[in-house]
């Protein structure tokens, strides 16, 4: 026998199940009085720097039905491209912005909404800028391990074309599944981003 590497194995994932909202957004699911506010409900306060935007979408299964029991989390940099994380070594992120959002989706339609700001550029490992993006993580009944994907912005064509991750995706026709078109809804720039778990329009998911 060769020597052992003495490394532990990661705890295996299991589905979040249909009642993920009990634990992660209890107020939303009607369990009130335990936590004052659901985690990730608000990503910013009035002092946050940057352009206010809205991200809206739904998650669809392989037969085109919108999931009504998914939980979507987002993680993104602030307007200057800094992450509000202790692992951020390049500077101090905007204290009025959390970078983290969590949405259970509307109970009737499954639509998730994030009121946030447009993120700045974050460098790739080699220092090249990545196009502005938001990281998404999706869990639900029937999803055995959380799905990582990204949202890029439809009005950042030049940056998207130069993005080190988008530009090396072999199947070019799939790149569009990561890009959210911009629409103005009232005064606020809104990015509509539907996620397709399976089938012809399947969203790109990453092994991070």
């Amino acid at each position: 026998m060769v020597q052992s590497l003495d490394r532990l194995k990661e705890s295996p994932s299991q589905t979040a199940g249909p009642y993920v909202h009990i634990g992660c957004t209890p107020n939303f699911s009607g369990i009130e009085g335990v936590f004052p506010q659901d985690l990730g409900t608000s990503m910013l306060n009035d002092g946050a720097k940057g352009e206010r935007i809205r991200i809206v979408g739904r998650v669809f299964d392989g037969v085109g039905t919108a999931l009504k029991d998914a939980m979507v989390e987002v993680w993104q940099a602030d307007a200057n491209g800094l992450y509000p994380s202790p692992q951020e070594t390049r500077g101090t992120a905007d204290p009025n912005f959390t970078g983290f959002g969590r949405s259970a989706g509307d109970m009737a339609t499954g639509e998730f909404v994030f009121e946030t700001i447009k993120p700045g550029n974050v460098p790739f490992k080699d220092g090249r800028p990545q196009a502005p993006h938001v990281t998404l993580w999706i869990v639900a009944r029937g999803i055995n391990i959380g799905l990582h994907t990204r949202l890029y912005f439809g009005d950042e064509e030049a940056a998207n074309a130069a993005d080190p991750i988008l530009s090396r995706i072999e199947h070019r026709s799939r790149v569009a599944t990561l890009i959210a078109p911009k629409t103005m809804e009232g005064e606020i720039a809104t990015y509509r981003h539907d996620i397709f778990l399976q089938g012809e329009k399947e969203t790109i998911f990453f092994d991070v």
């Binding site: 335990v34 936590f35 399947e202």
Partner: protein, 240 residues
């Protein structure tokens, strides 16, 4: 110490996305291959929550929804450590838990199981791991419950866990099962994990040494998150 990228996930160890015996996974599993994404800052960073996030009863599900008494059921303490794959403690990890009551009934609008709600049990809790990665919470042992998968499928008693490490790439949701439960080996959700040794990592042993005599039994559940590389070989010679 801030680290480099995370060790890649062993996706043969984790459950398969598509497993027809767990019926809902059939239409909710991607059919195309995942695209490998070397960790960037977007995956190596993640939200970290401070103790000011927590209320005094957040880790005590026996008391945090109590109205006119305490919940019915087996009083237990669940404790353990959050470690990374190099067996280093992960301090500051937010752990959120949720579960059914002693009769297997969830407090959720869409739940229709005929077992009654417990007026003194909500079923959600959270805590943050300490400097040595340790955590604990107090609850009632959940009951098994039937679910519409096969015509007669029952979930083993379980507690759902959601864990934030230090990077978004470590994000994990899993389930804890109880030592000796015969339903574990019949459950299609458990069986989405292909390796028996991996399943056993999710089974918490009874821990008599941590029981409170005449009060509560204890179960130990350690959680392992992804480890991370030294930065030494990533063009950053300052290393770790």
């Amino acid at each position: 110490m801030s680290g480099g990228s995370f060790y890649q996930r062993d996706r043969q160890w984790h459950p398969r996305a598509y497993d027809p015996a767990y019926k809902t996974s059939v239409t909710r599993s991607p059919q195309k291959a995942l695209i490998a994404l070397d960790n960037t800052l977007s995956e190596m960073t993640g939200p970290v929550f401070g103790h000011d996030t927590l209320g005094p009863l957040d880790d005590d599900m026996i008391l945090n929804f109590a109205k006119d008494g305490e919940p019915i059921g087996q009083r237990i303490i669940v404790h353990g450590r959050v470690l990374d794959e190099d067996a280093r403690p992960v301090p500051g990890a937010l752990i959120e838990v949720w579960q059914a009551n002693a009769g297997g009934r969830y407090r959720h609008k869409k739940e229709t199981y005929l077992a009654p709600l417990d007026p003194n049990f909500g079923g959600c809790g959270r805590t943050i791991s300490g400097p040595d990665g340790s955590y604990r919470f107090r609850t009632i042992k959940p009951g098994p419950y039937p679910w519409p998968n096969g015509p007669n499928d029952w979930r083993p008693a379980h507690i759902h866990f959601s864990i934030f490490g230090q990077g978004f790439a470590q994000r994990l949701i899993t389930q804890m099962y109880f030592e000796g439960d015969p339903l574990i080996w019949l459950c299609p959700i458990v069986a989405t994990i292909p390796d028996k040794a991996a399943i056993e990592r999710l089974i918490a042993p009874l821990d008599m040494a941590n029981t409170v005599p005449m009060d509560a039994r204890a179960y130990k559940f350690d959680i392992v998150l992804r480890g991370r590389r030294s930065t030494l070989f990533e063009n950053r010679m300052e290393g770790n």
